[in-house]
């Protein structure tokens, strides 16, 4: 099989499997998988920056929350219907990503991480500060009547699963096309050796900014979809924890692989789901996994797969 055929087979196979699973899964796991697919889209967005461009952002919750609040507030305050509200969320994410990118990309390395962390913290505090609109930590619920997209009730589990699947498929196929395109190859070149990419004549800043914008917009799409599908918008989704989660998922699944974010999200979601049945301190698992990953498997699960089984894994 050629590489292209293998790639198409692998990713098409995953999508077909996820599509088929909705008819057989019991209700509880059906709901979980819908949630996982939306969160995996968030992780896919994060991976564009971290895995392919080598930019570690510690503030991705800002983009997720920008999409979520851009959608939620336009429904709640401006009375938008879901379709324009989703677009409002996307635009909010795009604008925030462009602004943060333009400023933060003037720094490199550790400073870049701290700057993104600080911007995200400022965003979280801003959500709390405008508590009269956002309801702060308590958040607000998007009513069932406001969640009708073209006459489809998104609060219905079957529709919700399908919407999550559609979002995930679009994000997965977009990144797959992206990393195989010349643009994606330049991003990988920047990750591997920024000076060499610059020497070859690429405008590194422009490419990195584009990566931040793509990454932020995908994350915002996931945030907007999460708010709409699960009917809740709250400040927790803007907190540091939601900046750490995508990092955890991508590291676990394998940074710089297209499938990695989904694998990581799936594993981590069920790990936390199982452990929160035993203890309230379920973030302990996240901490232990982070430390073990940095020590023993910095490439993640799909990264190990790439190393051992198929070197051409995109």
């Amino acid at each position: 099989m050629s590489d292209t055929a293998k790639t198409a087979f692998l990713h098409g196979g995953l999508l077909a499997l996820l599509f088929a699973l909705q008819f057989v899964l019991p209700a509880y796991h059906h709901g979980n998988l819908a949630r996982i697919m939306v969160l995996a889209s968030f992780a896919i967005g994060f991976n564009v920056m971290f895995g392919y461009t080598g930019l570690l952002s510690l503030g991705h919750a800002l983009f997720f929350a920008a999409g979520m609040y851009g959608m939620g507030l336009s429904v709640q305050i401006l009375g938008f219907s879901p379709a324009p509200a989703l677009i409002a969320g996307l635009i909010a994410g795009l604008v925030v990503a462009a602004l943060v990118g333009a400023l933060a990309l003037r720094t490199v390395g550790v400073a870049f991480m701290i700057v993104t962390l600080m911007f995200a913290q400022a965003g979280y505090l801003t959500v709390l500060y405008f508590g009269s609109y956002t309801r702060g930590d308590e958040g607000f619920v998007i009513q069932q009547a406001q969640r009708m997209l073209w006459g489809i009730d998104l609060s219905d589990p079957a529709n919700r699963y399908f919407a999550a699947f559609a979002l995930f498929a679009v994000c997965l196929l977009t990144t797959l096309a992206l990393v195989r395109s010349p643009f994606g190859k330049v991003l990988i070149a920047i990750r591997e050796n920024e000076d060499r990419a610059r020497m070859l004549g690429y405008d590194v800043f422009k490419y990195k900014l584009a990566a931040v914008i793509v990454s932020g917009t995908i994350s915002a799409a996931a945030g907007a979809a999460y708010g709409l599908l699960f009917g809740y918008v709250g400040a927790t989704f803007a907190s540091v924890q939601y900046s750490i989660f995508p990092l955890l998922w991508v590291l676990l699944g394998g940074a710089g692989t297209v499938l990695g974010p989904f694998i990581g999200t799936l594993f981590m979601f069920y790990l936390i789901d199982l452990s929160s049945g035993i203890t309230t301190a379920y973030m302990l698992i996240a901490g232990v996994v982070l430390v073990l990953l940095t020590l023993f498997a910095p490439q993640g699960l799909a990264g190990e797969l790439r190393k051992r089984v198929w070197r051409g894994l995109p």
Partner: protein, 308 residues
């Protein structure tokens, strides 16, 4: 109260914050300066200091001063040893790679925080201060053209708060003497300047790293022991000191100790004063944005010197 006494009260509260913040931030700055890594778990070592101080004082009982004195000496050492152990088992094995260290210390952050939640529980618990006399403060008022002292109602502080400021100053001077005047300080500074050259001269760089990481965590723990009679011990209390220390270390110039202390006093005082007159959330938003912009436009910090 008039504006004057009010401002004085706010500055006094700010001075206590500044003293504790200076200790915490110097610990973070030391680790960054010598090891070139960012310790995201720094706030959790602070939290651990407060929780262990509660545990130790309630274990010892008797006069509050006794338990407190023991805690003030033993707790920083315990936390320092724990941090040094984390350094040897985790950070050393990833060769202090800056990015992987951040990820690993985020992991350590959650481990410490959640283990505390499992053992100590979600409650906030107070520690009794060793001494706590209320001191009324005078204010000068001009009446009939002559200055007169009077004691406005509500303008007071406690002897303990003044004690915190004094203790923090003593410890900071101690740190400075160690860094500037002793052999171990010389070794640390040599490692900070050029790791490879220090190694070539036979300095056991990895041991120095373990020591510095422990020392940094110990300073945070000591700051927490000092503040815990004023603020209660809680498993989530590490977030604010971490954020503020970051702000201080960045404004003061990464790795510069005098800059860190100056910035701590500046930020502590203005935090105290701003939160009295404005919303604390707004103050935090402005402070975090300021830090981000300082890093973007003046990466050497406001007081730092740009390195070649």
């Amino acid at each position: 109260m008039d504006f004057g006494p009010y401002l004085m009260l706010a500055s006094l509260e700010g001075a206590v914050t500044a003293a504790v913040l200076a200790l915490t931030a110097v610990g973070l700055s030391l680790v960054f300066g010598v090891m070139r890594v960012v310790n995201v778990a720094h706030g959790e070592f602070f939290m651990l200091g407060a929780v262990l101080a509660w545990w130790m004082t309630s274990l010892i009982g008797g006069h509050p001063a006794l338990g407190f004195a023991v805690a003030l000496i033993v707790v920083p050492v315990l936390v320092g040893l724990l941090a040094a152990a984390a350094d040897v088992t985790i950070l050393k094995r990833i060769a202090y790679d800056p990015e992987r260290t951040i990820v690993a210390t985020i992991g350590i952050l959650y481990i410490l925080q959640q283990v505390t939640l499992m053992t100590y529980g979600p409650d906030a618990r107070p520690v009794e201060p060793p001494f706590n006399t209320r001191l009324a403060l005078p204010w000068v008022e001009f009446s009939d053209g002559r200055p007169q002292l009077y004691w406005p109602w509500g303008l007071s502080t406690t002897s303990y708060k003044l004690g915190v400021i004094a203790a923090a100053s003593v410890v900071l001077i101690g740190v400075w003497i160690v860094m500037a005047r002793t052999r171990i300080g010389l070794v640390m500074r040599a490692t900070q300047m050029d790791r490879d050259m220090a190694l070539a001269f036979g300095i056991p760089v990895e041991k120095v790293y373990g020591l510095v990481f422990g020392l940094g965590a110990g300073l945070a723990a000591m700051a927490a022991v000092l503040i815990v009679p004023i603020q209660q011990a809680h498993y989530l209390m590490g977030g604010d000191p971490l954020l503020l220390s970051f702000i201080v270390v960045i404004i003061g110039g990464l790795g510069s100790l005098p800059g860190t202390v100056v910035a701590a006093i500046l930020i502590g005082l203005s935090d105290g004063i701003i939160s009295v007159f404005f919303s604390p959330t707004l103050a935090k938003i402005l402070a975090t944005l300021l830090v981000a912009l300082v890093l973007v436009f003046r990466p050497q910090g406001l007081f730092g010197v740009r390195r070649a």
